[in-house]
Subunit: 326 residues, 2 copies
């Protein structure tokens, strides 16, 4: 078994497998009043995530990512986390001569939307690319087409296998009596890919989806990367206070709630959300109030950094509500 242990007599010959290129891709997310935004290079025929090559000057992968992002944009990356490394031989439509390209994807959170003067990249609502993920205004319209499509897909298979397909679809998308699970972003994407619903799953010549949705094309496997990022973030805000990486210094509890709702794609019960935030000790008073609320003024609070030294995993174990009465 080859390894890279100290006495690697034959390491060199073992290891030299293949010419490689490594690309650092970034899913850079910011919050806005309409919900989470992602930085993309808008282009034809498809939008792509910003990416840069790993270079020899980069001491670490994360440093490399930060380096080219700050070189190319005027964004300051706050929280950065590695997402996944994609390396399927057929993921790239520009195969390197006798080699392959790896894509090491990162999730990064920034505090505010800023014009990226030095780049052609721009902000897009995340749900532009994953329209079925946004349940804030109730069941998303995109689901109608998807449900029909998946039903047909299940019906293609006989008996047992068909039921299985049906169950898979129902679980992932919360169809029928199953409930929607905000974290299953990647499962949903993969089901749509596997069934040929998303356009990037179709090779040239394959038929278009029978029931079209708003389908903003993304290059290569970038929609998959985006889905990975959203799923990871939705899960993470439940046990780590990363949500505050998206908030300004001071904010109201409703601001916070809206940001969380935007990310997780569901509406929350206001009173319970507040109870949660308070009992978890996630925020502290600033003493100021915000008067432009449209109603009673709201206290301005800020992230209470001390929680990080108090409990091991402070977060928002949130629970949505079917029909928020407030």
């Amino acid at each position: 078994m080859p390894s890279s242990q100290p006495d690697r007599s034959n390491a060199k010959s073992d290891v030299e497998g293949l010419a490689l290129l490594a690309e650092l891709s970034a899913v850079i997310i910011a919050a806005s009043v309409d919900g989470p935004q992602v930085l993309v290079r808008a282009g034809a025929p498809a939008d792509t995530l910003p990416a840069g090559p790993l270079q020899s000057g980069h001491r670490t992968l994360e440093a490399g990512l930060r380096a080219w992002v700050s070189q190319q944009t005027d964004l300051h990356l706050g929280y950065v986390e590695q997402l996944y490394t994609f390396g399927d031989a057929d993921r790239i439509d520009m195969p390197v001569r006798s080699g392959r390209a790896l894509s090491i994807a990162y999730l990064a959170l920034v505090r505010a939307l800023r014009a990226s003067a030095r780049s052609t990249a721009r902000w897009q609502n995340i749900y532009t690319y994953l329209p079925w993920e946004d349940w804030r205004e109730g069941r998303p319209a995109a689901l109608d087409g998807i449900e029909a499509y998946l039903k047909a897909w299940a019906a293609e298979s006989p008996a047992q296998a068909g039921i299985l397909r049906d169950r898979r679809a129902a679980l992932a998308f919360g169809l029928g009596s199953d409930s929607w699970s905000d974290e299953l972003v990647l499962d949903r994407y993969e089901l749509l890919y596997e069934t040929g619903f998303v356009r990037e799953a179709r090779r040239d010549g394959e038929p278009p989806p029978p029931c079209p949705v708003v389908d903003h094309p993304m290059g290569l496997d970038h929609r998959r990367i985006l889905a990975t990022a959203l799923g990871r973030l939705r899960a993470k805000i439940k046990y780590r206070p990363v949500i505050f990486e998206l908030m300004p210094e001071n904010f109201t509890l409703l601001d916070l709630q809206r940001t969380v709702e935007g990310l997780s794609g569901v509406k929350l019960h206001k009173q319970n959300f507040r109870r949660l935030v308070e009992t978890q000790g996630l925020v502290e008073e600033t003493g100021e109030v915000q008067t432009e609320t449209g109603g009673r003024p709201a206290r301005l609070v800020r992230f209470r950094r001390e929680v990080l030294l108090e409990r091991p995993s402070p977060g928002l174990r949130l629970s949505s509500t079917k029909r928020p009465s407030n």
Copy 2:
């Protein structure tokens, strides 16, 4: 901003950064009566995780991993999941000529310990390398040295900074009034690395740790990879039924409990564990019983695969117990 979007006029020049080698490392875990075991290449001066190079024949990264594992051992990998990609320029003590080596680490679970006839690798108890992680028999002895060491480290810093260090240590290791958190494996390892406690953190010439622990050396960053794997697995069994990837077809509830306890490193309350397993519908009767229990015979059960089609994230949201009275 460079990208690999379809109209990549300048893609080639942008992307060619650096000569790369990609290595696929595997943390292969199996259960045993003594607790979880990991497959290592035992060697001097340090043990290493098995690893193999990514080759051009590998369609996907995971396929590559499976390929060389089945080539080199007679193990059948069940569950496989990507862990993390390590690529610090200084992680490797054998830098590739003007390039660097990436290590893409995977977690793999196998159902039984089997002699790996074709390889020199062998099974080792995971806690050989992370002795402070096993609380099944109460507070691990290794923690005494660690606590003293970290206290000294905190005392090095003046006032405010010292208190911060103290809090960090207490949170990570459950010192003082803080409670132990089984999932913080990586945080703990990183603290030990940062403070120079683990030997791989010390460059040549640096002094040995003032208070020695059982410190089985591991090569390169392999202990970090192992810690990543253990932390991930401990988290995952709580919301995905991956534990059954380690169990034989039929088992008793106590077998299951012992396996979970081994992985998570804590004792569980027996009755509550059973209630959890039953209410979650994770197992079903086989009709058989196991009589060699030492007491009343135990029912033999098996994993109930249907749960996967019933609920989105079935797992063992387990809660330990301070002092198990049974």
